[in-house]
């Protein structure tokens, strides 16, 4: 069972009785144990919990009480989602010992469908990073080339799915943290519309941008899980009331005549020409499937990166104020005053990238700077959203490369934060506008996967999934496995 298996296929296998949840769970646990040292993709593997959950799933099946198509299917959660009784570290020394007393809504909803939690995946500290190198638990390695990064911040989730250590995983996306690692690891990753999925229990980075997503082998698998996690949650005041469509049913909807806008500005300076060529080929494939591809523009795109690097750190500096060493998390030894307790707990508990963003965020919210930075960035954010709105008058979906290049070498950008931030140049504007977007594998450059990003109007996930699904029916990029793990 080392070949490519989607959740959809595993679900069918469980239903037919050709394998049990225990067998599936053991299979992924064994692979995880075998490759753990090489990828460093897990922070916690909950073997006992997974086996118990699998046994319960098999028992339900034996009694004809199957909860649904996901019952008994293993999964991984990014270590940013609170899981009752398990460590939830957020990739930080600050929370290295933190056990949440409650489940995030996403965790609870998937568990209620009988999914088997294998463990928690490595990530950039507090989701701040594009290479998974800011994790307190060390970098994750890309299964396609272990000398390269998996992308970030959901690098662990991308790596476990790409390497077949878990069939599907959750991620979170604040500026590209689901889509960019999905692209760099050759899997499918969806960032839903802001508000589509509850943020309750998902440790906050930048609240107005954060959104939970699914990282999977196929668009169809994403549809299966999105169906469960999408929808109103009364514990999240920003969660949307919009009705949740039947994503699986929409996968087969006719797409002929659909207008696809290829965004010129997504192929800007810094774009690897070979990546661009792969994306152009993919565009041609969509054209062959009956979609009408035209050129489109997002003229304010150049504002996205500076806007994001004011707003996201501003919110982060506030969201991370609660980590003070008083109630939970890391506390420095031998503090002699309250001030020292705060200063040292935070200095020792946070890594350099997190500190950089807290400093930037604190600065831009300070008296005298707020108007020039924070308010100005909010205005720019409105311009970017309006830009997308105009583009969607001419197109039903927008398209471009997810990332400007394929996976880069470990350490290549750690000394240059601005170069690192450029990795998310095509994903960040989508978060600023609150739109849904998916990244799917669409080819390779030098044996490394390339991601195609499709962006939709608010709450049009079913359309994005349908286009991605059709593309995956016509291609096999998403079925490729890194040789070392096949």
């Amino acid at each position: 069972m080392t070949d490519w298996r989607s959740v959809t296929e595993l679900s069918r296998a469980l239903a037919s009785g050709s394998c049990s949840s225990m067998e599936l769970t053991r299979h992924f646990l064994e692979r995880s144990a075998r490759f753990a040292g090489r990828l460093n993709a897990w922070i916690t593997v909950d073997e006992a919990g997974a086996l118990a959950a699998a046994q319960a799933a098999d028992r339900r099946r034996a009694h004809g009480e199957v909860l649904g198509p996901l019952d008994g299917i293993p999964l991984a959660h990014k270590d940013i989602f609170c899981t009752k009784g398990l460590l939830t570290t957020c990739g930080s020394r600050m929370l290295a010992n933190f056990k949440a007393p409650y489940d995030a809504t996403v965790v609870a909803r998937l568990a209620a469908q009988g999914m088997v939690l294998l463990g928690k995946t490595n990530m950039d500290e507090f989701a701040m990073g594009s290479s998974n190198e800011t994790s307190y638990f060390g970098p994750v390695r890309n299964p396609w080339d272990e000398g390269r990064v998996p992308g970030g911040s959901s690098g662990g989730s991308a790596a476990v799915v790409a390497a077949g250590l878990a069939p599907v995983a959750t991620g979170t996306d604040t500026g590209g943290s689901v889509r960019q690692p999905a692209a760099l690891c050759g899997i499918s990753g969806l960032k839903p519309t802001y508000g589509r999925v509850s943020r309750y229990g998902m440790i906050a980075f930048a609240s107005s941008l954060d959104q939970a997503g699914i990282m999977a082998r196929s668009a169809a698998d994403i549809a299966l899980l999105l169906q469960v996690i999408a929808g109103l949650d009364e514990r999240d005041a920003t969660s949307a009331t919009a009705a949740v469509p039947d994503y699986m049913a929409h996968l087969e909807h006719p797409l002929a005549g659909l207008r696809v806008g290829v965004v010129d500005e997504f192929f800007g300076p810094g774009m690897d020409g070979r990546v661009a060529a792969v994306v152009e080929q993919a565009t041609a494939i969509l054209g062959n499937l009956g979609l009408r591809c035209t050129s489109a523009h997002l003229r304010e795109l150049h504002l996205a990166l500076p806007t994001y690097y004011i707003l996201a750190p501003a919110e982060a500096s506030s969201n991370l104020a609660r980590y003070d060493g008083v109630r939970y998390g890391y506390r420095c030894a031998e503090a002699h005053s309250l001030y020292e307790l705060y200063a040292r707990s935070r200095s020792e508990g946070f890594g350099p990238e997190v500190k950089r963003r807290i400093l930037i965020g604190t600065y831009v919210l300070s008296r005298g700077y707020y108007d020039a930075f924070y308010l100005q960035a909010q205005r720019a954010r409105h311009l970017i959203a309006a830009d997308f709105h105009h583009a969607f008058e001419q197109a039903d979906i927008l398209l471009g490369p997810t990332a400007p290049e394929t996976a880069f070498a470990l350490g290549a950008k750690t000394a240059d934060p601005l170069a690192m931030y450029q990795s998310d140049i095509n994903t960040i504007p989508v978060n600023l506008a609150g739109l849904p977007a998916i990244s799917i594998p669409c080819g390779e450059v030098d044996g490394l996967p390339v991601g195609l990003q499709l962006i939709g109007r608010p709450f049009s996930e079913e359309l994005l999934l349908a286009v991605a699904h059709r593309f995956q029916q016509a291609t096999d990029y998403h079925r490729r496995l890194p040789e070392a793990f096949s």
Partner: protein, 485 residues
């Protein structure tokens, strides 16, 4: 040249909601430490605030009572500072767009009634409490209070004396309890006040440098602290000094204010709109629904009590200092319309209040007081007897016993007034016999001894004699020739 004080007050009104401002935890006082602090109140990773509609409704209610502007959209903002009792490292408050603005509260000023502007009232969550005692030298944090809803009510700098500030505060205190949005308990911190005080030359138009006084948890402290601070600032200015902009703490033990921190230490709270919360949108229908439930307000009710019952203004004001008291008074009259309103008002603001000394409705049911006052008015019992019966009823209520029927009690205690002239005559004769000296003096013109004789007769009859009739009988008897003496 004389000085003028300028005072503005910031009052934190704890809203009497069932649950907290942003979580479902109970918003109550007095539970064991951290018993009513849930994951949201503790600021655990991943938790999110959800606004409490009941608290918003209470803020609207308050705004309507002040004739204020209720903004159709208001915004929650984060106010940042580090302190162990502030679990998130920020307080969720309202900054640029408060829910209530530009209201008016009428106060009894030094020169008569006048309006004081309520500049704004905004919703915010309370912090927890740090504990430093009984923990073996360590400090603890109790987060029960964290997240309880506060309405911060900010007045304009429009009051000019400690007395005016005290009056504003009492009016506000009455109003929030009247509206049912706050229990008003100052000891438990349900109603807390900070005062901004400055002084300037009379006639000056620019405000002087102000100080902010904190820790004022009773009306008396507010007045004392302000009076002290005005004197202090005048003394500073008159000695050629300058008042510094600073935060000062009132020390009740010494009756003075002292410096806590200066302007240069003022914190930068880095306010920004809370991205976890959407703007609070209030539609017309919601406001109208709340408007329909608004009670008659204290000022209107006071005016009505004056007009309808002919009560003096001060007494009407006292009755309307508490809605339960005003309701109680009118309930007494509703049960026994024959009781003169002045009599009922005197008893409610006199005997009943003296026994009651607290908030909420008095213990003895209004119907019982009404019967009692009716019997008094009918002359069935004396004033003294009525007082005694009220005290018995009060005690029975206090001890949780079923109070006795008023008429039963009159008979059981033998307090029915004696009105039989034959019996009263005997009494008069007995008193005259026992007091020859006083009788002689009376006859020599010392008229006021009549009251003494009546008092003696009342005493001998255990309060049952009709004092009015007794007075008549004594006067007649002593005016006649001394018989058989």
């Amino acid at each position: 040249m004389s000085w003028e004080a300028v005072i503005g007050l910031e009052v934190h009104v704890r809203l009497a909601t069932a649950s907290k401002l942003f979580s479902g935890a109970a918003s109550s006082y007095g539970a064991p430490p951290n018993a009513t602090a849930c994951a949201v109140d503790m600021g655990l990773p991943g938790v999110l605030p959800v606004p409490n509609r009941e608290a918003i409704a209470m803020a609207i209610r308050f705004g309507l009572a002040l004739g204020a502007r209720i903004d159709r959209q208001s915004v929650f903002a984060r106010k940042h500072y580090f302190y162990p009792d502030l679990p998130k490292g920020y307080q969720i408050s309202q900054y640029e767009q408060p829910i209530v603005a530009d209201g008016v509260l009428l106060i009894e000023g030094d020169q008569g009634e006048r309006p004081i502007t309520v500049v704004r009232a905004h919703l915010e969550e309370d912090a927890g409490k740090s504990l430093h005692e009984g923990l073996g030298g360590a400090s603890g944090v109790d987060l029960n209070r964290a997240g309880t809803p506060l309405l911060e009510v900010v007045s304009g700098p429009e009051m000019h004396s400690a007395a005016e500030a005290g009056h504003y505060l009492r009016k506000l205190h009455t109003l929030v309890r009247w509206l049912g949005i706050c229990d008003g308990n100052m000891q438990e911190g349900s109603f807390r006040c900070d005062a901004n005080v400055s002084v300037r030359r009379v006639g000056a138009t620019v405000l002087g440098t102000r100080s902010e006084i904190k820790n004022l948890n009773s009306f008396r402290f507010v007045e004392k602290a302000i009076a002290y601070e005005i004197e202090r600032q005048i003394a500073v200015l008159e000695s050629g000094g300058r008042v510094e902009q600073e935060t000062r703490l009132f020390d009740p033990a010494r009756g003075e204010t002292r410096r806590m921190r200066g302007k240069e230490e003022a914190m930068d709270y880095r306010y920004f709109p809370d991205p976890d919360l959407l703007p609070v949108v209030i539609d017309e229908a919601w406001i109208e629904a709340i408007r329909e439930t608004m009670p008659e307000l204290p000022d209107a009710r006071r005016a009505r009590l004056e007009a309808s019952y002919g009560l003096p203004r001060a007494q009407a004001a006292l009755l309307t200092s508490d809605k339960d008291l005003a309701d109680y008074f009118e309930a007494v009259l509703a049960v026994q319309p024959a009781v003169p309103p002045a009599l009922a008002a005197n008893w409610v603001t006199g005997e009943v209040l003296a026994l009651h000394r607290g908030q909420g409705a008095p213990l003895v049911a209004p119907a019982r007081l009404a019967t009692l006052l009716a019997r008094l008015e009918q002359g069935v019992i004396s004033r003294l007897a009525a007082k005694e019966i009220l005290e018995v009823l009060w005690q029975q209520c206090q001890q949780g016993e079923p109070p006795e029927d008023c008429d039963t009690l009159i008979d059981r205690l033998g307090l029915r007034q004696v009105r039989d002239d034959a019996v009263l005559h005997e009494l008069v004769e007995a008193i005259i016999t026992a007091n020859p000296q006083q009788v002689a003096e009376y006859r020599q013109g010392k008229d006021r001894l009549l009251g003494y004789f009546v008092g003696q007769a009342m005493k001998r009859s255990a309060g049952r004699g009709d004092p009015k009739r007794l007075g008549e009988l004594f006067a007649a008897r002593l005016a006649a020739a001394p018989a058989g003496e």
